[in-house]
Symmetry: C2
């Protein structure tokens, strides 16, 4: 299991910048916390139904549908809508879709204006021919990454290019700018800082002051785009990381784990734990070990 | 019509390094003179039959077959085997097949050893499944370059990747090194110098001396790999360029054209012309204008 918080930072390896992450109830979508990056991402719903959020707007996704996440968009899961589900998140370096930012494919199609990337419409369904073709390609990508036959890297590149080619030809992208880039930019900054420094003692008021906006305004904007307040986001992130460490670092003391995740107060950590799992941290760990 | 001598130097444009050149009896394969480059090239026989040479070995190609030319291989046409024919030569920058020389696709498949590029077997026929699939992709590439629909660049990239993927999976490449790289390297150097400086007064003996080999040895090696002596190659190249200029620079005097192609002696130029076309240069020009 990869680290749910760090996973989004490195997509595959430098030599082949591609990664597919699978989420199931055992690795629940609550771990798919709000983040953003300069790459495109495609979320493919294998079975069941989950609601995702992009820049504050909810998109319920059912089986065999996909969500296109454009560069710099803040995206996260909101809730699982069926008890059983699985989805795959595909993230890839832009070099797999265009050779360089100097290339004609990039300048003509991906980044046609100086201002912004081509922003595809979010939901791909089987209702249109381009959606159907794209979904077929995306499903193949997920399978290829599992079986990894000879030259699967080339085939994945071919399929990613096909998806882009399909959607561009079907005009499945938005020419209008609907987002408030100014608000988005400081929410992105705060999100980046929280994800990077969650283990430390973070003073939200001081961060707002550094960013030159009022704390209230920052909180309101953050909640609007991310779906929860910065405080709750930070707390959830710390909790998720603690759970991750309790699963993977069997010999680390619980107090040590709590501290390494930014919980300075052990009783507060225990309270959070009981609220979310109905168990104390030790009960939870024993329960995990017994599974 | 592009310049038959220079055409191989720039393949498309930097932003989309891809070019397809068509050859017919009106733009005959004699103009497809020996050259080499670090890119892969694919020659697709649309109709009729033409024999090509690669590093001194002849490959007769019939309709709907293709020739894979690997990086650094010296390639040229030998003769047309039918009176009517057409073939398309596809040349593309390597960046269309692998994102960079750092990428996994490059290091794992294209350049697996430090010594050399993957060298595909030369002739693609419809007799194998991989040949058939590759030929279909190559034919589509030729058509796409003519119609150039939206995103045709992406589709061409997809098809080129498919050809490589197909051939790699079918093991349609040679693991053994059959060439004498030492001999090839100075033939390549001489070829490069002749193509670059054909308009100037070239002393072949002096070039051999500069390269530190005997003139006789150089001529023998050159003829073995290119199919004709350096002297004949140079003469043919000059003649072709003169014909090209006579077709495209209508107002340039014949003596001026002869000189700009490296013919210092007008009467020698006229003699060459009569030998090859049965006409004097002026008769040839009038004949061209009347067509």
């Amino acid at each position: 299991m990869s680290n749910p918080i760090q996973e989004k930072i490195v997509h595959g390896e430098k030599l082949f910048p591609f990664a597919a992450y699978e989420f199931t109830p055992a690795f629940p979508p609550e771990l798919f916390t709000a983040h953003w990056h300069s790459d495109y991402e495609i979320i493919y719903m294998q079975k069941g139904a989950v609601t995702f959020g992009i820049n504050g707007i909810s998109y319920p996704l059912s089986a065999h549908q996909a969500l296109m996440v454009n560069p710099y968009q803040i995206h996260y899961s909101v809730s699982a809508n069926t008890s059983d589900f699985s989805f795959t998140s595909i993230v890839f370096g832009n070099s797999l879709v265009f050779p360089s930012t100097e290339s004609r494919i990039y300048t003509r199609y991906i980044h046609p204006s100086a201002r912004e990337y081509i922003r595809f419409f979010p939901v791909l369904t089987q209702e249109t021919a381009s959606g159907m073709d794209s979904l077929k390609s995306i499903e193949k990508i997920c399978l290829l990454d599992k079986s990894r036959p000879l030259c699967y890297e080339m085939e994945i590149q071919i399929l990613l290019l096909s998806v882009f080619c399909n959607l561009l030809r079907a005009n499945a992208y938005d020419m209008e700018i609907r987002e408030d880039f100014h608000t988005l930019s400081y929410v992105q900054e705060l999100l980046y800082l929280l994800r990077k420094n969650f283990a430390e003692d973070i003073k939200l008021e001081a961060l707002a002051q550094n960013m030159n906006i009022s704390y209230e305004h920052l909180c309101r904007s953050f909640k609007k785009v991310v779906g929860k307040s910065p405080k709750k986001f930070l707390n959830d992130l710390r909790f998720q990381h603690a759970v991750y460490l309790m699963k993977t670092s069997e010999h680390q003391a619980i107090a040590e784990i709590a501290e390494s995740c930014g919980f300075s107060d052990m009783s507060y950590f225990a309270k959070c734990f009981r609220q979310k799992t109905g168990k104390t941290p030790s009960e939870y760990r024993n329960h995990m070990a017994g599974e």
